[in-house]
């Protein structure tokens, strides 16, 4: 039971709430809020010393953010 773990869980919870009940209800706000639980999860992984997983997770999160950003750009361009 340590601070990192608890903090991670708290941020995870906050982040998930933030994504689930997003204000204002736009794609961009949701996308930004989506980063919050990621950092919470990072702290949880950190608490268990899962560094390799942590690194990959952060990189892949950025990549999936980019994928969605790309999709939204296509959308803006075509609408």
């Amino acid at each position: 039971m340590e601070a990192t773990f608890i903090l991670g869980l708290a941020i995870l919870l906050i982040g998930v709430l933030a994504v689930a009940f997003v204000r204002p209800k736009t794609y961009v706000a949701r996308l930004i809020n989506l980063e919050i639980p990621g950092w919470g999860l990072l702290l949880v992984m950190l608490a268990y010393d899962e560094t390799l997983a942590l690194l990959t997770f952060i990189a892949v999160t950025a990549i999936s953010t980019f994928v969605i950003v790309r999709l939204m750009e296509w959308r803006d361009e075509s609408c």
């Binding site: 601070a3 990192t4 903090l7 708290a10 941020i11 906050i14 982040g15 709430l17 933030a18 204000r23 204002p24 736009t26 794609y27 961009v28 706000a29 996308l31 930004i32 809020n33 980063e35 919050i36 950092w39 919470g40 990072l42 702290l43 950190l46 010393d49 560094t51 942590l54 690194l55 952060i58 990189a59 999160t61 950025a62 953010t65 980019f66 950003v69 939204m72 750009e73 803006d76």
Partner: protein, 76 residues
């Protein structure tokens, strides 16, 4: 890390997280996300994973820049 420090940095992270969730403005959200990262980094460093801290602090702005691309479009 002494508990007082843990509380302070944890508090920074929490403030960042909560404000990122509550602020309505996109730029404000991104700035709050930066605050969240600022709170998280000392925990990584404290465990001795300096390489992870370096990578994470380099990747975080990249993710923000990705998001800024759509923020700019949504804003304009």
């Amino acid at each position: 890390m002494i508990p007082a420090l843990e509380i302070m940095f944890g508090f920074i992270a929490l403030v960042g997280g909560v404000s990122a969730a509550l602020i309505l403005d996109y730029y404000g959200k991104l700035i709050s996300l930066g605050i969240l990262v600022a709170g998280v980094i000392p925990f990584i460093v404290d465990r001795g994973y300096l390489d992870v801290a370096i990578t994470v602090s380099l990747i975080a702005p990249i993710a923000t820049i990705f998001v800024l691309r759509v923020v700019r479009r949504a804003d304009a």
